[in-house]
């Protein structure tokens, strides 16, 4: 096994294991940290694919910004423990339980099978062999974002703005025009 393959196996295992632990960790802070680890693993996978722009953005936005705010909120909110998670069950017991173990596992395997089947049929015209990575992926992504995909990009930013305004309205103290 050459080292990119070894790195891929390690990162893939890290992403999958921490994603599973997000759902099963008894402490919500641990769940948040596992989510951060999962994001970091995905960034590592992007690095392996030589998509260094996407990798950096994944780290910067998801692991750096989004998760920091989530952890910050958890720390402030004193939600130390989730009530109904099986706190000290072993991993085998967790796998046997429907909510934490076999049902989500079966669901994700089924989803994966559907994806593979769609890919094998050549749905959406996906290439069968890997395209060479562009030498300057940042320039490539920028060209796509400000060229053919300018409208979806702008619509997504309007959506984020709407979410921001919504958050401000939801958290505003009623009846106080501060």
């Amino acid at each position: 096994m050459d080292w990119p393959m070894a790195a891929f196996v390690f990162l893939g295992a890290m992403v999958l294991y921490s994603a599973w632990r997000v759902a099963t960790a008894p402490l919500i802070t641990h769940a948040a940290l596992f989510l951060a680890a999962s994001f970091a693993g995905v960034a590592g996978l992007f690095f392996l694919l030589e998509a260094d722009f996407l990798a950096a953005v994944q780290l910067l936005l998801y692991a750096g910004a989004v998760m920091t705010v989530v952890i910050f909120a958890i720390m402030l909110a004193e939600m130390r423990e989730l009530e109904d998670a099986a706190p000290h069950a072993g991993w085998l017991a967790q796998l046997r339980s429907g909510r934490l173990g076999w049902a989500p596992l079966a669901g994700s395997v089924a989803l994966f099978a559907v994806l593979v089947a769609a890919y094998e049929r050549g749905a959406a015209g996906w290439p069968k062999t890997a395209l060479p990575a562009p030498a300057d992926s940042t320039r490539f992504v920028a060209g796509a974002l400000f060229g053919p995909y300018a409208l979806p990009f702008e619509v997504a930013s309007v959506l984020l703005l709407a979410a921001l305004v919504g958050a401000v309205i939801l958290t505003r103290v009623e009846g106080k025009g501060r």
């Binding site: 802070t29 960034a43 920091t68």
Partner: protein
Amino acid sequence: MSGMSLGYVLVRSVILVLLLMGAFAYFMVLERKVLGYFQLRWGPVRVGPWGLLQPIADALKMVAKEDTQPLGADGLIFVAAPALALFVALAAFAVIPLGPTLHFGHLALPLSVANPPSGLLFVLAILSLGVYGVSMGGWASQSKYALLGGLRAAAQMVSYELALGLSVISAVVLAGTLSLTGMVRAQAVHGLWAMVPNILGFVIFVICSVAETNRAPFDLAEAEGELVAGFHTEYSGFRFANFVMAEYINMFTLSALGSILFLGGWLGPFGLPSSAWWLVLKMALYLFFFIWLRATFPRIRYDRLMSFGWKVLVPLGFLNLVWISAFVALGGWH
């Protein structure tokens, strides 16, 4: 990655880590000496001539100390936090080029562990993970001082990262590249340090780099008078040393970044030939400025710190970005 074997990268990583550790040790001596002179005392004088063997004594003390852990602490996270903090600090420095690639016969020695085309973005991404070590350490200690310190540090770092990012973006617009070597090359081509048109961006960068590293006068996260030692209150011995090392290596990273983005990197002033030593000199001046600030200013109040970041630095950063974009678009370089 072409032409670069894994072993060669490993060797250079080890060299870099040793270099950073040595720089950290002697920067500590320098800081204590300079702070001493600022305060009309001698600083360390007893260990070795001029206190030069002080870091060895400090290291021995740190290793020999008992490794304590509070009873209610979250074991794994408590142990992982300082390691993560140090890892993040070291990883960020890995992509910073210290100078142009050296050639010995047909052996090329690049003065960085890796030099990705979007190196600047990588540094920012890694630096944004620095907040984990601090907040995890603060939370896992299960002590009120540590938790409050961790929260303060997290909020402060996230807030100032925004203004820092804005000043970095202005430098990117000016140079037209995300590569750190490209940054220096752009300044060489224009024959002008980026600091000249982008002076506001440079000032914002300096202020934010002090706040990002939780240094005085922005060291609210470890305000001794109210929070004991903030997020690392419960840490002792080598784990505590890890946190301190991470803080200083982050200072090195930000000073190198500031020198490359705004001060021409390894370009010499007045047309003198470029050399890695120029970058080291600029970093040294930058770091001296850190110490100078610490010796001069009292700690500012927390609410003022936050409102300064959000209501002064962020709008100024946007204004500066507009100015720099106009400068580039209107052909200010020509």
